[in-house]
């Protein structure tokens, strides 16, 4: 349905997006995962025709959208990272304005407004000014404004940044409902791994402007099939112990946690004996040893050597 072909963007000397290839099939929910500054928002701006790519193409049903962007704009609903609403207008006035801007016919606009307000659960607050809303409520209206013209594809750019858990859950449920019950194709960008895991069938992992991995959750997790992630809780920590663990032949990575270390090691014989021995030498007690079921976070860590929130 929608695909990008070697999509690139350069700002002066810096290549922000580098030959990104991704595709969305009809009815899919796809995640675009990456830390801040990975190039996710720039990619979305190019897909939605707000930004002209330096090179590459965006195709909708096989047709290039670079020169003629009106068609893709008609089928896209874009929820920007910022609260792109008029603070001085009420929720209803904002939706009415954007509905008219989308050229939704007057006869059905009122119904659409009530429909999208119902979806985001703010029907009873529609007369209140946006500036009086909490961050979570603003983000929900931000989503509602992108649904007024019944888009086929919904692109959400970090829609849960800086909001309370309750609003976050509401947004996730709304997106899931739009995808599952209304068949809306979703491209969801986030740096919250658990959101993408919850919502998306397929995931693209992006870092430094490149897609570094892609696939279903299972496909991505299989990257780690030859590795174990081990969480070790210690009575206290020492740099010497960390260096000793890093030097063990099976260990690939060691990362400090609040209670000890997270260790990525090759699958096979248990590390426990080696760890106990090393800890004893330092006079440190191992309080807990747990082999973790791998997550996308571990995949990201494995691929980039850093966590998503670094």
């Amino acid at each position: 349905m929608l695909e990008t072909i070697k999509l690139s963007k350069r700002f002066k000397d810096k290549k922000v997006v580098d030959e990104v290839n991704l595709y969305l099939n009809k009815g899919e929910s796809v995640g675009l995962l990456g830390p801040n500054g990975a190039g996710k928002s720039t990619t979305i701006s190019m897909i939605s025709s707000l930004l002209r790519p330096t090179s590459g193409d965006v195709k909708l049903d096989g047709k290039s959208t670079i020169k003629n962007s009106s068609e893709i704009r008609n089928v896209l609903g874009v929820v920007p990272q910022e609260i792109a609403l008029y603070e001085e207008l009420s929720a209803y006035e904002n939706l009415k304005f954007f509905g008219r801007a989308y050229r939704v016919k007057k006869a059905i606009l009122e119904k659409r407004i009530q429909e999208v307000l119902e979806i985001v659960g703010l029907k009873d607050r529609q007369k209140e000014l946006i500036k009086t809303f909490s961050g979570g409520m603003k983000r929900r209206i931000n989503i509602a404004a992108a649904l007024l013209h019944h888009p086929q594809i919904l692109i959400l750019d970090e829609p849960t940044v800086g909001i309370d858990p309750q609003s976050r859950n509401h947004i996730l449920e709304t997106v899931q409902q739009l995808n599952e019950t209304r068949g809306m194709t979703v491209l969801y960008t986030s740096h919250y791994m658990e959101e993408v895991e919850q919502l998306c069938n397929r995931v693209y992992i992006m870092d430094h402007g490149n897609i570094i991995a892609s696939g279903t959750k299972d496909e991505l997790l299989s990257i780690l099939s030859s590795e174990d992630t081990i969480l070790v809780e210690l009575s206290n920590r020492s740099d010497t112990l960390m260096e000793t663990i890093k030097a063990l032949p099976k260990v690939l990575q060691v990362e400090e946690t609040s209670e000890g270390f997270r260790i990525i090691a090759r699958k096979g014989k248990s590390l426990l004996n080696d760890l106990v021995h090393a800890a004893d030498k330092e006079g440190i007690q191992i309080l807990n040893y747990q082999v973790e079921i791998p997550s996308l976070e571990d995949v990201f860590l494995h691929l980039t050597g850093k966590t998503l929130r670094d």
Binding site: S69, P80, E82, E88, F97
Partner: protein
Amino acid sequence: MGAFIKKDLLVFWRDRKEILISLILPIILIVILNFAFSGLFSDDKEIQLTIGFVQEDDVAAGVQQFKTTLEDMEMSVSEKEALIAQSTTLQPVQMVEEFLNNPDMKEWVTATELTEKEAIKQVENGELDAILKVPNGYTYHMLSNALLGEQSQSSLKILADEQSTEVTTLEELVQSFTNSLNMQFALESSEKQAEPILPQGGMEFVEESESYTIALYFTIAMGTLFPLFIAHTVSVKTVTEKRERVFNRILLTNSNPFHYLIGKIVSTLIIIWLQVAITFTIIQLILNVFPGKSLEFWIGLIAMFTAYTIAIAGLSALFTTITLYLQDSNAASGLFMLIVMTFGVLGGSFFPLDGLPEFMQMVGEYTPNGLTQTAVIDWVQFRNWSALGLPLIYLLSFFAACVVIATSMFPKRGRL
């Protein structure tokens, strides 16, 4: 497009600070400035001049000398007779006397006819402020100047012991009287019959002109200044729309970007028109700045300010387009405020243009606010429709130029 206009009007209306600045502040300022500066105009009535009028010219001898000169000249008898007939109707000394005896002049100038010797003595004693002297040969030289085009070698003289505000005022009055007299003679020599035009009171009255008060000046000045601030405000709101990505969201709706621009133009036009209408109505109720004006006057005033409103709406379109290119909102705000203040100063919205160098006055008269101010003051005084024509055309052209530039510069899709 209606949605864009309504949105901009609502956004403006909900901004209480802007409403206060745009609608209340001009009214408050006009009232305060009127009371603060009203003394400047009312001072004229407090001036009391006592002058000695010294008339040394022999009028009959002057007329005879003119006839003798005429006889020696090479021209036809009929031409000579016509000039002699005109010379009998032009009586320069009598005009000076009528000027001094005009009832309006008499309210603040007391003139006593004296000999030069007596007059000088009284000036020295402080009994007189100044002497107005008609020198010998005045009639002859004025007639020769007016009817034969000879260089005038005689003029009215003002003698005073020391320079004072009163003497300066008298000098200005006599100068404007002389100008009027020259104009009258020129008309007479063109065989146009008209009554002499005499200066009256503290202001020069030409033909059927009316005076304007300090309150009226400030009403017009503020009425032209504050719409410029609206253009600034509208452009700054565009900065907010851009910063908060609302503009991007509008682009994504597939709306024609020019609807956005037209929305800005029309909403600015409506806001400014209402601002001017409210300001003028309330000021009229408080200060009665346009007493007893005819329907024709109001139509002309509304036409002029509507054209001005359209011009400034065009300016706001230009500001809006420029804003879309500027990344820094403070830079945009600063730049537009600089333009607005420059227009304000050059256009005479803060103080009359007379205080500025001549070239700046000339430039100022071509700013939309300066031009409107001058045209409206002329309209108040002369009520001449033909004088409104050019300013109206200029303001509408200014609007058209701004819109053409704004449209051609408006960022294309994907270029922001």
